[in-house]
Amino acid sequence: MTDSQSTIEVAMFAAAQALVGSDSVTLTLPAGATAGEVLVQLGQRCPELQGLLPACRLAVDLQYVAADHLISPGAQLALIPPVSGG
């Protein structure tokens, strides 16, 4: 890992957690990585998520973000599968 990279954990829930068998996945991101790139890297790192990923959203620091959102080092990331509360 170089200075232009950072490791970051992505929290997993529900079906995503069941598919990867863990409550988080650690990724190494280049500086300036976006939310969209996190999703792409998750799919490469965890092929078992491929079918679910198109329906998922990414949350950063407890808020949904768009694909072009820049990920800051230390941000709190979570993969949000389709919700089903109520």
């Binding site: 529900a14 079906a15 949350a59 808020q63 979570a78 919700v83 089903s84 509360g85 109520g86």
Partner: protein, 144 residues
């Protein structure tokens, strides 16, 4: 739950049964003529399948933030006197409530509109997930 005269909005995630009476009491406001409570309960049959029980999981800090955002938005939009949203997590057996949404307002129309709006928004955006435990022993995370 400890609402007071200054608390218009209460949101909670709970791990045990949801009690209706304290919710109804917390709606009290002498300027509120309309009080309404919706309970979403575990249903026995879905099409030709039978549910044994449900299990709810959540991304708790974000779920609370989203519930608060939506309840505040409803309070502002319909000028509600009080709003209460409580979601239960963990195992919820048949006939037990997983969610309570309650509101009071000056007149009936506001609560009749606000409660279904809140339920639809919660089902669309709040990171809470339902796992069906069917009577045949199979389980599945629900994906609407």
């Amino acid at each position: 739950m400890q609402p007071n005269a200054e608390t218009r909005v209460v949101v909670e995630l709970v791990d045990g049964p949801i009690e209706s009476e304290p919710i109804l009491e917390s709606l009290s406001d002498l300027d509120a003529g309309a009080h309404s409570l919706f309970l979403g309960k575990t249903r026995r049959r879905t099409a030709d399948k039978e549910t044994d029980h449900l299990v709810y999981d959540a991304y708790r800090p974000m779920a609370l933030a989203e519930l608060r955002r939506l309840a505040d938005a409803a309070a502002d939009r319909w000028q509600l006197k009080r709003v209460v949203v409580i979601h239960r997590l963990g195992r919820v057996d048949l006939g037990e409530a997983s969610i309570a949404i309650a509101a009071s307002s000056g007149h009936r129309r506001e609560v009749f509109e606000a409660i279904p709006w809140l339920l639809d928004e919660i089902k669309s955006d709040v990171p809470i997930w339902k796992q069906e435990h069917w009577s045949d022993g199979l389980t599945e995370w629900v994906h609407p």
